[in-house]
């Protein structure tokens, strides 16, 4: 079984951004996504409490260039005013085409 490297991009953001971030990653080339409700604390004054509802973790498996586009978009659009972090890891998958990738992505 061939296992091919792609990127796992993880965003953790205040709930309000959920809809926008989901739309953004799909627009930028992700073929799917996985959402988890989380609670967190970061460097921003905004704490996430019952009023806002839990924060959201958005994970997408994408080819490298899509990963870069997502990181760039999030950094530009949301870093200044919103509570959001983004990080990237390498993952191995079996069906790279499913994630919008050629074999050697």
């Amino acid at each position: 079984m061939d296992i091919v490297p792609l990127r796992l991009v993880t965003l953790v953001a205040e709930r309000l951004l959920r809809g926008r971030l989901v739309e953004a990653v799909l627009d930028l080339g992700a073929t799917g996504y996985t959402l988890t409700e989380v609670h967190g604390k970061g460097t921003r004054g905004v704490k996430h409490n019952a009023i806002d509802g839990p924060s959201v973790k958005l994970e997408v498996i994408v080819p490298l260039e899509v990963a870069e586009r997502i990181v760039e978009h999030v950094a530009e659009t949301y870093f200044q005013h919103y509570s959001v972090i983004v990080y990237v890891q390498e993952v191995k998958v079996v069906r790279p085409a499913k994630y919008g990738s050629g074999r050697d992505a």
Partner: protein, 330 residues
């Protein structure tokens, strides 16, 4: 029932005590905690229940009787963000963005404060007008729109120009957020359902939405206490200006609401409840809209003011004050 009796009865009511228990639980670092879903579930239930009851009441209210109070409410929804903004900008020296953000919150309404006021009305034995929930729906939105306009328009009425950063937020997105936000959808949706179903259709669901209401509110206020207590630490950082505003603004707005409510034809109880509504600061609809339209505004400022200052003030002292004022004016 004298004013002090009302105050005492209010402070010893299960909902106020539950709020205090929530604060205390957090202060002693209890592991008591509401599951995320329970808070959301209670909020959905309470908002829908308010709407339904208001709608049913509206279905038996002559339009003429409703018109005066409705207009008074709309007027208050336009005026209070303006007065808030003026005071926050000039004497208190907040920058335009934060002043507008706070004005949106103080012009709009907190549903829980509203319900607490309704309970007090029942404690005193003089129930407020049944259609009051419809007024909540009217009061919720306009203030947010007015306040955001203040922030978006350059050089608001007679104000010195200030270095104006480019807007980070989006006006249209915020408007959509307010109008399609869950609190407006549930309140307005409930109103319409109640109006269409009428008393007969509502009878079947009454045990659930009316019988269970006050108890559900006790749970909700317990959780509100837990949430508020987490914000108490921020009181030190927001400064004495904001604390003062968070207490004086509800008094002034509330008395204005009581007076105008009476003028518009509400009963003393109804006028007192309207006063509490006007005095309250929104913490569901307004924060979401402001976060989108004015992301540069500090959530610590507006959430701490609304939740940790004004909400507890109204819940404990403000509401009895408005009832006293309504009696005095009557």
């Amino acid at each position: 029932m004298g004013s002090l009796d009302i105050l005492a009865a209010n402070l010893l009511s299960p909902i106020v005590l539950a709020f205090a228990l929530g604060i205390l639980a957090r202060l002693v670092k209890s592991d008591l905690e509401f599951p995320d879903g329970l808070y959301q579930a209670l909020a959905i239930y309470l908002l829908l229940a308010i709407g339904l009851k208001g709608g049913v009441a509206l279905s038996v209210t002559p339009v003429a009787a409703f018109l005066g109070p409705a207009l008074a409410t709309l007027a208050l929804g336009v005026v209070t963000p303006l007065t808030s903004y003026a005071v926050l900008r000039r004497p208190l020296g907040f920058d335009r963005v934060n002043a507008a953000a706070l004005s949106a919150h103080y012009g709009s309404v907190s549903a829980v404060t509203f319900i607490a006021a309704l309970q007090v009305a029942e404690l005193t034995g003089r129930t407020a007008e049944g259609y009051m929930p419809a007024l909540v729906a009217l009061l919720e939105v306009p203030a947010i729109i007015v306040a955001l306009m203040l922030a978006y328009m350059r050089g608001v009425a007679g104000k010195a120009a200030e270095a104006d950063e480019p807007r980070a937020g989006s006006w249209q997105a915020a408007l959509h957020e307010v109008l399609s936000g869950r609190s407006v959808v549930l309140l307005l949706g409930g109103l319409v359902i109640g109006l269409l179903a009428g008393e007969e259709g509502f009878a079947k669901v009454e045990p659930f939405f009316v019988g269970g209401f006050q108890g559900a509110l006790v749970l909700f206020l317990l959780e509100m206490g837990l949430v508020t207590a987490r914000r108490l630490g921020d009181l030190r950082t927001v400064g004495v200006r904001l604390i003062g505003f968070g207490i004086v603004a509800p008094i002034v707005h509330g008395l204005l609401g009581v007076w105008l409510g009476g003028v518009a034809g509400l009963s003393p109880s109804g006028a007192a409840v309207l006063g509490a509504m006007v005095a309250s600061a929104s913490y569901i609809a307004a924060p979401a809209a402001v976060r989108i339209a004015l992301p540069e505004a500090s959530p610590t400022l507006y959430l701490t003011a609304a939740l940790a200052i004004t909400f507890p003030f109204n819940l404990t002292l403000g509401i009895p004050l408005f009832f006293a004022a309504a009696d005095w004016l009557a």
